[in-house]
Amino acid sequence: MKIDRKEVEHVARLARLELGEEEIEKFTHQLSATLEYMDKLNELDTTGIEPTSHILEFTNVFKEDQVKVGPWGHVTLSNAPAQEQSHYKVPKIIE
C-alpha cells in the first residue's frame, strides 16, 4: 500500500505528533516502502483463522478488591513537569 503526504499528515495528527517538512517527506517514502512490504501477508489465506492477541491461553486473573498502597508508594508528583497545589498542571484547555 502506497501512502501519500496527506495521509502522513493525517496519521501524525492522530498520533499527536508534529512533524517537520523534511520528516513528512521522508516518512511518506519510508512508510510506503514498509507498508508495501507488509502487503506480503495478503498472499496468505487466513479465512476462519482465530487471531492471536496473546500467546498464553488466558483466563481472567482475579484478586480480592482491597485498598493497598502500590509498590511505588503513594501517587507521586516527583516527576511532574509542572505542578501546583499537589495537582498536575497543564496549559489552559478552555478559554
Partner: protein, 486 residues
C-alpha cells in the same frame, strides 16, 4: 586472570571462600569501566558510589556467614529500560532523560533482595526500538570486538558491557531479538525466556504481547543462575504465569544423547552469510558426535515473520507510547501554545526518528479502515506461527538456527534504510511471535574477527531443555569464552 573477567559462578565461589571481597571486585570493575568506556560507551548512567556501598554491605553479610543469598556481592549492569528506584531510567530517550522511577521493576527488586550490586544502566536503542543501539539519544555503543561495528540492539549496551568485562552479567529485554541478536554480535550468551516466565512489571513497555526480560551473561551457567532469580509469578503482572520455578542450574548436564534437534530449512536461505552457516553446521556436527539426532523440519510461515512482527509491534508501540504527552512525567516542551500543541511539540522534540517512524506505522495500521487489513490480519498470521512451532516440536525437542544472518555490521551502514535494518532480526522475531524461549550462544569468530552466534529454541516453558542443550555445546565445543582484545 583479572577480577573483572570472572563469571557469576566463579565469583560466588571466591566470595564464599573469602579469597576476595565484593568491594575489591566492584572496584576492579569500576576501574575497568573507566579504562574502556571511552571506546565502548556501554553505559548511560553509572552509579559507582552506590555500588561500592552495596558491596561493603555485602561483605559484612559475607563475614557473618550463613544464609547467603545467591547473588550476594555480584555486580551487574541493567538495561536502561527497567525501572530502578531512585536511579534515572531514560530508555535512551530525550522524553525520559530526567525520569527517576519511584519504584523498582519486579526483576530489579528480586536481584536486590538476592544481594546483587548495580553498577549502572546500559545504553540501548530508544525505547528498545532498533537492532544496532544507534537509535540512542545518548550516543552510539561500539562493539568491543571492533569499535567500527555496532554491538547489535536493542540491548547493545548490556551486550557490550558483558563482552568488555564492564560487569559480571547484565539484564536485557527482548521484543524481536533484542537480547539474542546483540548477544550474538558481541560473543556472549543471551536468553529470551518464554512469554510469561518473567514479570514485566517495571519494564517500560514497547510491544506488550512480545516483550520479555532475560539474562545476558558470559556463559550458560550464569544465565541459569540469573533466571532462577528473575523467573516466577508476580502479583503486579497478570501475564506472568503461576508455574513452579525449577532450579535451572540442575538442568546443566553436558549430555544430549538421544536429543532430537530440528533444523528449520527456512532459516538456511539465500542472504545468510556463508561463514555463519558454516559455523552453525559445525555446531550441529558437535551435537551429532555427542549422540543427538539432527533432522530437517519446516516452519513454513517464516518468510512472513518480518511483516507480521512489524505490524504487531508497531501497533502496540503506538498505543504504549501515547503516555508520553508531557503531563505526568518526562519531557515537556517549553514552547507550547495550548494543550494540543503541548502534546504535539513534546512528542516532536522528545522522540527520535525510529520511534516516530514506528508510532506512525502503528497509528496507521490501527486507524479506521486499515485495522482489519493489517493488525487483525497479522494476528491471524501469528496463529499460523504458533501452529508452525507446535508442529515442529512434535518431531523434535529443540530447534537450532543462526541468531542473525550476518556478524555485526558497521556503524552507519543500515541506519538510513529501515527495511534493511529490520532484516537483521529475521531469525529472532518468529520466536517472540510464538512466545517460546530461545538462547543465543557463541559458536566461533568470522574471518574479520567478529563473533557468530547460534540459537536454540524450545517449547513454551522448556527453558531447562534449552539450557541443557546450550550447556552441552559450551562444554564440548572447546571454544572457551570468547574475549575481545581491548
Amino acid at each position: 586472570m583479572e577480577l573483572y573477567q570472572l563469571t557469576i559462578h566463579e565469583l560466588q565461589g571466591l566470595l564464599r571462600k573469602k579469597s576476595v571481597s565484593s568491594e575489591e571486585v566492584t572496584k576492579a570493575l569500576l576501574q575497568r569501566i573507566e579504562q574502556v568506556e571511552n571506546k565502548i560507551h556501554a553505559y548511560i548512567t553509572l552509579t559507582p558510589e552506590a555500588a561500592i556501598e552495596q558491596a561493603r554491605a555485602a561483605d559484612r553479610l559475607l563475614a557473618k556467614g550463613d544464609h547467603l543469598p545467591p547473588l550476594l556481592g555480584i555486580p551487574l549492569a541493567i538495561k536502561d529500560v527497567l525501572c530502578t528506584k531512585g536511579i534515572k531510567t531514560t530508555c535512551a530517550s530525550r522524553v525520559l532523560a530526567n525520569y527517576i522511577p519511584p519504584y523498582d521493576a519486579a526483576v530489579i527488586g528480586r536481584l536486590r533482595d538476592n544481594g546483587a550490586i548495580f553498577l549502572g544502566k546500559t545504553n540501548m536503542d530508544e525505547f528498545a526500538m532498533g537492532s544496532s543501539t544507534e537509535n540512542s539519544a545518548f550516543g552510539v555503543t561500539h562493539n568491543p570486538w571492533n569499535p567500527e561495528y555496532v554491538p547489535g540492539g536493542s540491548s547493545g549496551g548490556s551486550a557490550a558491557a558483558v563482552a568488555a568485562d564492564e560487569c559480571m552479567a547484565a539484564l536485557g529485554s527482548d521484543t524481536g531479538g533484542s537480547i539474542r541478536q546483540p548477544a550474538s554480535h558481541c560473543g556472549i550468551v543471551g536468553l529470551k525466556p518464554t512469554y510469561g516466565r518473567v514479570s514485566r512489571f517495571g519494564l517500560v513497555a514497547y510491544a506488550s504481547s512480545l516483550d520479555q526480560i532475560g539474562p545476558m551473561t558470559k556463559d550458560v551457567t550464569d544465565t541459569a543462575i540469573l533466571l532462577n532469580i528473575i523467573a516466577g509469578k508476580d502479583p503486579f503482572d497478570s501475564t506472568c504465569v503461576d508455574l513452579p520455578v525449577p532450579d535451572y542450574t540442575q538442568a546443566l548436564v553436558p549430555e544430549v544423547k538421544g536429543l532430537r534437534i530440528g533444523v528449520p530449512r527456512e532459516y538456511f536461505i539465500e542472504g545468510i552469510d556463508p561463514e555463519v552457516e558454516d559455523k552453525i553446521r559445525q555446531a550441529l556436527k558437535i551435537y551429532e558426535d555427542l549422540g543427538a539426532t539432527c533432522l530437517e523440519v519446516s516452519l513454513p510461515h517464516t518468510p512472513y515473520a518480518l511483516a507480521t512482527y512489524y505490524i504487531i509491534a508497531t501497533a502496540e508501540a503506538s498505543s504504549n507510547l501515547a503516555r508520553y504527552d508531557g503531563v505526568k512525567y518526562g519531557y515537556r516542551t517549553p514552547k507550547a501554545q495550548g494543550l494540543l500543541d503541548m502534546y504535539q511539540k513534546t512528542r516532536k522534540e522528545g522522540f527520535g526518528p525510529e520511534v516516530k517512524r514506528r508510532i506512525m506505522l502503528g497509528t496507521y495500521t490501527l486507524s479506521a479502515g486499515y485495522y482489519e487489513a493489517y493488525y487483525r490480519k497479522a494476528q491471524q498470521v501469528r496463529t499460523l506461527f504458533r501452529q508452525d512451532f507446535k508442529d515442529a516440536f512434535e518431531k523434535c525437542d529443540v530447534l537450532v538456527t543462526p541468531t542473525s544472518p550476518t556478524p555485526a555490521f558497521k556503524i552507519g551502514e543500515k541506519i538510513e534504510d529501515p527495511l534493511q535494518m529490520y532484516l537483521s532480526d529475521i531469525f529472532t522475531i518468529s520466536i517472540n511471535l510464538g512466545g517460546i524461549p530461545a538462547i543465543s550462544l557463541p559458536c566461533g569468530l568470522s574471518k574479520d574477527n567478529l563473533p557468530i552466534g547460534f540459537q536454540i529454541l524450545g517449547m513454551p516453558f522448556a527453558e531447562e531443555t534449552v539450557l541443557r542443550t546450550a550447556y552441552a555445546y559450551e562444554q564440548h565445543s572447546g571454544l572457551g569464552r570468547l574475549r575481545p582484545m581491548l
